[in-house]
């Protein structure tokens, strides 16, 4: 198999097609237009459906309708469009629908900008919409991983009957890298809830209104139980943990720059580890817990004003010092910028 040179956004679309995505609904927004454009070319050829909606609000509700019938479907957008979808995210979670949503995020708040930003970390991991719910959130760091995690998102969303999000940003979305479009095994799960017409079976209902005494509490407890079960899907990339005094943490495309800085530091003999959460929800608490128990400190680097750092703090539970290196969106840092901060951090001791 020959690698192809594609953008991260295109890799996401290809990953979705590889996973058997049948329907795409979306509304144009930079920097993710490569996804709908690729889907508009490819889906009809494969007997699937591409539909440009009149808004993100319409798109996400078309997605709700499509996945309710048991077919694999997705939408993609960027930050402001994702905000507009928030109410329906809550419904998707409440109806336990395996919808896949991609956020190629950009700078905010407001119209912000179209540069790379990780300012939607809270929005993605805390739910964005109303009520107690979560999306399963995956964040790739390379074009190859964008392809593979998107396919994985389809599988996990069906496994848990649970909406899933790919959270990436303009940097990875627009960056070209070689992609090996290898065949992926995407497991199927029984869809005994799908609305396909009540032929030879009782009618099915997908609803989220529970007014009977105790009903809503039971419903919430069921969802929470599922979120706890999802913890086993937590994934992180951990490097150089042996003998480390400081663990530098980052997710998504920024982690590439951070990894380079960590390697620079290690070449100079600094005992630095690298931790990259791949699932943002469930958050991979384990490596953080283990490192903190060994007295390792943390430096959390993010392209926002400091969001993931809260999850790191929750994971280490006060056992270790956690420092935030928050880089609000505008320019990307150079590895040297991060290297200098690592050095400063280590010298503090």
């Amino acid at each position: 198999m020959k690698p192809v040179l594609v953008k991260g956004s295109e890799a996401i679309a290809l990953g979705a097609l590889e996973a058997g995505c049948r329907c795409y609904f979306g509304y144009p927004i930079t920097p993710q237009n490569e996804i709908p454009e690729l889907m508009a070319r490819e889906l009809p050829k494969r007997g699937g459906v591409f539909l440009q909606a009149e808004s993100e609000l319409a798109a996400v509700n078309m997605l709700l309708g499509a996945v309710s019938t048991g077919v694999r479907a997705m939408t993609s957008s960027s930050s402001p469009g994702i905000s507009l979808m928030a109410e329906t995210f809550s419904y998707l979670a409440a109806l336990e629908l395996p919808a896949v949503v991609v956020n190629v995020s950009r700078g905010g708040p407001g119209l912000g900008g179209i540069e790379a930003s990780q300012g939607d970390y809270f929005q993605a991991t805390r739910g964005a919409g109303h009520g107690d719910y979560h999306f399963l959130v995956l964040s790739p760091a390379s074009v190859q991983e964008a392809y593979e995690l998107t396919a994985k998102a389809f599988e996990l969303s069906e496994k848990y009957r649970q909406p899933a999000m790919i959270l990436t940003d303009a940097l990875l979305g627009q960056m070209k890298e070689p992609l090996l479009p290898r065949r992926l095994r995407v497991r199927e799960y029984p869809k005994d809830w799908a609305l396909t017409g009540a032929r030879g079976r009782p009618a099915r209902v997908l609803k989220s209104l529970f007014l009977g005494p105790g009903e809503l509490r039971a419903r919430n407890e069921l969802l929470q139980k599922k979120y706890r079960a999802m913890r086993r899907e937590a994934r992180a990339e951990v490097l150089y943990a042996e003998g480390a005094e400081l663990a530098v943490c980052a997710f998504g495309s920024l982690s590439r720059i951070v990894k380079e800085a960590v390697e620079m530091a290690r070449k100079k003999g600094y005992p630095v580890a690298f931790v990259r959460p791949i699932t943002l929800f469930p958050f991979p608490e384990k490596p953080f817990r283990e490192l903190s128990l060994r007295g390792v400190r943390f430096l959390v680097v993010e392209l926002n004003c400091g969001q993931m750092v809260e999850d790191v703090k929750l994971s280490v539970c006060g056992r270790a010092e956690v420092e935030s290196f928050a880089l609000p969106p505008s320019d990307l840092p150079a590895p040297e910028d991060i290297y200098r901060r690592i050095r400063r951090c280590l010298r503090k001791r």
Partner: protein, 249 residues
């Protein structure tokens, strides 16, 4: 003489469950429900029906129909129906929405679904108020009509004029059937049933979007007894004339 089998003149629709309606006395939602069930039965589409329950007094739609039903957020029924129909074109997809759901918060989704000629059937229960939330102003409230948020009556200088949704949709090439009906007389009930049937034929024959708007009494929020509320529907027809505005079936 062998006893002849006579088809009973009045049977319980197969597509309706036996659960008693929760609607207020004199509410017309119940009549519309029954007609919809009869039409689903007559067209033989119960086993491939997909209904979208919207947010409003009829949000419990799924309790009353023995067909697959999905709930959509307030106003988004036509978008959800679009997704379901595009994903599985073999389904007979319908929405059941109020005037607030269809024509206020969801107007964009409703108009665009109609403009695209989605093969879905939209049923809109126009009771000129937000019934479920206690009778506030809706996009179809009549000038001068008192609601809880227009206590002195709808003032056109403040709120403009009611939206005539059926007339708007009738101009869309993608709309294959579009009618406004009422159910406050037996004759009108029969006409409403026929309109519903055609609104389904619009999608079953692949012609386009089907729409039926019911002028529907809301005695509770109109502060009238059921009989006066049914009569009041006649007054509504002055602003909202009954009839078939477009029919390609």
């Amino acid at each position: 003489m062998s006893p002849k089998k006579v088809k009973p003149p009045f049977t319980f629709p197969r597509s309706l469950t036996e659960r008693p309606f929760h609607y207020c006395p004199g509410c017309h939602h119940g009549i519309a429900h029954r007609l919809l069930a009869e039409v689903i039965d007559e067209l033989g589409i119960r086993e491939r029906a997909y209904g979208v329950a919207s947010i409003g007094c009829a949000c419990f739609l799924y309790y009353y129909y023995d067909v697959d039903i999905c709930e959509a957020p307030h106003g988004r029924a036509c978008a959800a129906a679009t997704g379901a129909k595009r994903a599985r074109p073999e389904l007979a997809v319908f929405t059941y929405q109020g005037d607030g759901d269809f024509a206020a918060i969801g107007l964009t989704e409703s108009l665009h679904a109609a403009a695209r000629g989605e093969r879905i059937t939209a049923i809109m229960i126009n009771n000129t108020v937000y019934g479920m939330t206690g009778g506030q102003l809706s996009p179809t409230t009549l000038p001068g009509q008192r609601t809880t948020t227009t206590p002195e009556g709808r003032d056109p200088r403040v709120y403009g004029y009611p939206l005539k949704v059926a007339e708007i949709l009738a101009q869309f090439p993608g709309v294959a059937f579009c009618a406004r009906v009422a159910v406050n007389t037996p004759k009108r009930v029969l006409e409403a049933r026929e309109a519903l049937r055609r609104a389904f034929l619009a999608q079953l024959e692949e012609r386009g979007f089907g729409y039926v708007e019911f002028l529907s009494a809301c005695p509770v929020n109109w502060k009238l007894d059921p009989v006066s509320a049914a009569r009041k529907v006649d007054e509504l027809t002055e602003t909202f004339p009954l009839g078939v505005f477009r029919d390609l079936t």
